[in-house]
């Protein structure tokens, strides 16, 4: 297991020492390759805190985490010997706002920043930048542009390329598609899907969009008030009981499927996860 959480809790220190429990008793295991996970939950449910634990940006106040064999607990910070940087290379975390990380004069330099920090030579980092800008679906011409004169979607792609260039085994994306129009969102989701399938990396996406969850994820994690309440298959997640219990939005495809099945007394199988699947299944059911 690449990532293993054992009874992990995390308490933020608040003003006047009233702590705020952002994670509570989380147990979790994530593989190094082949997983496509979505992490969902309301604002403030602990999603981002959980993600930040996965690359040792913050350490648990209780419990233990093992990241690629490195044990991390509440005492880790004090021990100077333990180097957390190698973990951050293995688990790449893309923050929600690309503005948090872009700072160099050119896109190329910004993509090279991460890899060089982890000891990659300038030439190799350059090569990586050229490779990754295309992986995220931008033309090489972008490399010489300033990251600050790009559109929101382009900035996002550049920030993702900057993390991919570090060659992480696991890629975590915090709300990567928020604010993008449908075309931009779908294009970016395809990029993640491609990274997952062709590079065989584990991809974890934090999102509010249930359609993303339903269409792409093999596994869903649901956070609620700091507790990991669900860890499993997206199909089962959207069972009627869970939807009521956690006040979830139902994915468009699923709600339509269910509606058609009851209204027309047909069965669509296997349960369609994409628009194309739905069309095909319906055609078959009707003929």
């Amino acid at each position: 297991m690449a990532i293993k959480f054992e009874r992990v809790s995390f308490q933020y220190k608040g003003i006047d020492n009233k702590g705020y429990l952002a994670l509570s008793d989380v147990n979790l295991q994530i593989d190094k390759e082949g997983e496509f996970i979505t992490l969902i939950g309301e604002t403030g449910s602990g999603k981002s805190t959980l993600a930040q634990h996965m690359n040792a940006l913050i350490q648990p106040t209780e419990g233990r985490i093992s990241l690629f064999g490195l044990k991390i607990d509440s005492t880790t910070k004090k021990k100077k010997k333990i180097k957390l940087n190698p973990i951050r290379k293995k688990v790449g975390l893309v923050f929600q706002f690309p503005e948090y990380q872009l700072f160099e004069e050119t896109v190329e330099k910004d993509i090279m920043f991460g890899p060089k920090n982890f000891g990659m030579s300038t030439e190799d980092a350059k090569r990586k930048a050229e490779e990754m800008i295309e992986v995220v679906g931008l033309h090489k011409d972008y490399l010489s542009r300033s990251p600050f004169n790009l559109s929101g979607g382009e900035k996002k792609r550049v920030s993702i390329a900057g993390i991919l260039a570090m060659e992480p085994d696991i890629l975590i994306l915090d709300e990567p598609t928020s604010g993008l129009d449908p075309l931009g969102r779908n294009a970016l989701l395809e990029v993640f899907h491609r990274i997952h399938t062709t590079l065989n990396k584990t991809v974890i996406i934090i999102t509010h969009d249930m359609n993303t969850v339903y269409q792409y994820a093999k596994r869903v994690l649901v956070m609620r008030e700091g507790v990991l309440v669900y860890d499993g298959d997206p199909l089962k997640l959207f069972s009627r009981g869970n939807i009521d219990k956690w006040n979830l939005d139902v994915p468009d495809i699923l709600s339509l499927t269910r509606d058609l099945e009851t209204s027309f007394n047909i069965t669509l199988s296997p349960p369609p996860r994409t628009r194309q699947d739905l069309f095909k299944a319906l055609e078959e059911a009707l003929s």
Binding site: T43, D181, H208
Partner: protein, 269 residues
Amino acid sequence: MQPMISLEGVSFKYNQSTEALKDVNLTIKKGEWVSILGHNGSGKSTLSKLLVGLLKASEGTIKVDGIVLNEDTVYDIRKKIGIVFQNPDNQFVGVTVRDDIAFGLENLQIERQDMIKRIDTYVKKVDMFDFINKEPSQLSGGQKQRVAIAGILAMETDVIIFDEATSMLDPKGRRMILSYMRELNKEGVTIITITHDMKETIESDRIVILKNGSVLKHGPSNDILNDKETLEKSNLELLLPLELMHHLEQHNIQNERLKKHLWQLSLNG
């Protein structure tokens, strides 16, 4: 009846070369709910800034409630149009919820007694009464947007523009803001939603589609929602039931009952 808002030949240039809006003509009636749809960079937000006089049109005339927007009238026009912006954090001016709602009222020089009454009324209307003394750092994005709405409601404007106001919120926050739009529209407030989320447009009376700064098409929502060609041209997606309907048509699958059902579904969101 004179229109609430009318634009005639409105263009806007950020600099010499790039034209953000080109020759936009549009009228919005009192009490109407109009969605302005468009891809990222289509000029939607430029349009909303022009309406409240934050930007000045390079060409054309904008009229609000019969008043031509210019340097002298802009302050009067802002009393008629309120706007909820995208980022909840960048429009929360006050140190507390109460102070933030008061901000606009203080600017309008409302008497203190009246101010207190209005704050009380509108903070309750957006269900934020229990949070009235809270600071913004103690609120979620959705709660901050509700405060922003209360702040504008308190100014008792005729029009409220929601400029991608839900795009940074979680589903719960989004649902809540949508329900306020619905309620306000019923009470007679003219609503303009600027969005690229099709679901937010279903209940509106009309949809205007912007593409690269021009109006690509506008018309009753039912027509536009079903206009596959136009939507796809502007980087947008058909609502799922409607896309399915088109798919069935394309494949010559005739099933009137199914078609009717899908159409009903899409209208119910």
